[in-house]
Amino acid sequence: MQLPVLNDAPTSKSGCEASSCGTTENQMDSLPDSIREKVQNHPCYSEDAHHYFARMHVAVAPACNIQCHYCNRKYDCSNESRPGVVSEVLTPDQAVKKTMAVATNIPQMTVLGIAGPGDPLANPERTFETFRRLSLEAPDIKLCVSTNGLALPDAVEELSKHNIDHVTITINCVDPEIGAKIYPWIFWNNKRIKGVKGAKILIEQQQKGLEMLIAKGILVKVNSVMIPGVNDQHLAEVSKVVKAKGAFLHNVMPLISEPEHGTFYGVMGQRGPTPDELQDLQDSCSGDMNMMRHCRQCRADAVGMLGEDRGDEFSLDKIADMDIDYPAAMEKRKVIHQAIQEEMDSKRLEKSTKAAQLKAAAKLTTRPVLMAVATSGQGVINVHFGHAKEFLIYEASPDGVRFISHRKADQYCGGDTSCGDGESVLQVTVRALAGCEAVLCSKVGYEPWEMLENAGIMPNGEHAMEFIEEAVMAVYKEMAAAGKLDDKQKAVRASA
């Protein structure tokens, strides 16, 4: 019997040629060793590293030089946690202090990013002052920066002087006509330029900046926001262009759009993609490259492991009282980083041995299954269903277990029990898990248990504190043994 072979499916899709869609291995292999090393242990890129290492962002860059239809510049809403949203803008001095305070207290924190809340390169003095000081005073922290690209060509020279690990450019299109539907205006050469003309300049600057960074040997990642009906069909083309120019990763994120955000898309009723639509596009743009599937679209002042935010512990008045001896902290950090590295290496070895064993063992012929997992890190199932703010989605198949994406539990509810349209948080969560056939967590309450079952998602609390991949495989085998996977019904989704 012929099985749907997962890794082949994406390359056969239209609009995405095999040459632009490498697998994780291929993408990583083509990088120089020094760069691959960086990426492998980077919490934002490496799927296993993000269980161990943490990143933080400091909000030193409030000004922006363009307008995007998915952004609104009123960024003091504490209920929101999406990119561009922060509550406290820091001076470079405060940012340096905060970074060192976090690095001392959370030794797993290895990456400092400047991502906003505006455009970091539209605030060159504040951004570069922060980078300059951190390179000097905390050399064990990697630095990264995100930009819309408009001011990028002018910043490349300065960026190359600091210890910049990588640059992220948000590129939503390479066609000015499409750009005009995403960017209403840019501020350029002392004028506000609207429409297609503005979008054209922005696109040219983005592409020029990308080329200049690659020429300097700086690692470039490209982010795109998927906007159904606007650029969803176009992003395969974007993917091809940026990869041909040398971006090592293209990360497609969903549009986040609600009327209460007050954005153009929110107010005009532009919807974001469904989890299925997003996954289809991610598959067609990135093939099996799953390094970025766990991107949480953190807030510009997020602190902590991906998906968690401990920013409150490091507010300005709290860090003012902290006494920080960074050289001493750096010694401690080094020891901890080594221990983490060893643990990660042994896990990686174990994983590849297991995969080899699985290959050697008699192969199942069952269809693939998506499962949701509640975890707070360390690679184990350790969160109660009701406490999970997000779920990691894994796919189990006879070929093994692969990470697919993460999904937010109750995206933007501020914690009250119901959303605007009367749907309970629980209902929203269950809906977010659509397409999954099991959910693995440390415990599940009675009410959600019933709702999950009714939705065709099997709750499972039997693998608490076990390693995710092993538990997912165990559940998959149970399902296979129980004859639940013989139907071809859901296989369509999983291989699409």
Binding site: G118, P259, E260, F264
Partner: protein, 92 residues
């Protein structure tokens, strides 16, 4: 003659560095223009620099007290649509 920043300013800092006359300063609860320093960009640029980068409609007024960027001019959201969305939200 001078422009004025009013309370709808969200303190985004964008206008401060682009002012050729160093007339804009950070203040509480929002940024302000020093009317003695503001030249309305005359002699430097044909358009008000602050109002050309400010993302917030209505946040900067000209010397006659008129909004330089009226509702809908920057976001592209028709004012009636915005009002409708706001009503919708408040009814919840």
């Amino acid at each position: 003659m001078a422009v004025k920043i009013i309370e709808s300013c969200v303190n985004c800092f964008a206008c401060e560095p682009v002012c050729p006359s160093k007339a804009i300063y950070e203040a509480k609860p929002h940024f302000l223009v020093d009317p003695k320093k503001c030249t309305e960009c005359e002699g430097d640029f044909p358009v008000f620099q602050c109002a050309s980068i400010c993302p917030i409609e209505g946040a900067i007024l000209d010397s006659l007290g008129m909004e330089i960027n009226p509702p809908g001019s920057l976001t592209g959201i028709p004012p009636e649509k915005m009002a409708e969305a706001m009503r919708e939200l408040q009814s919840h």
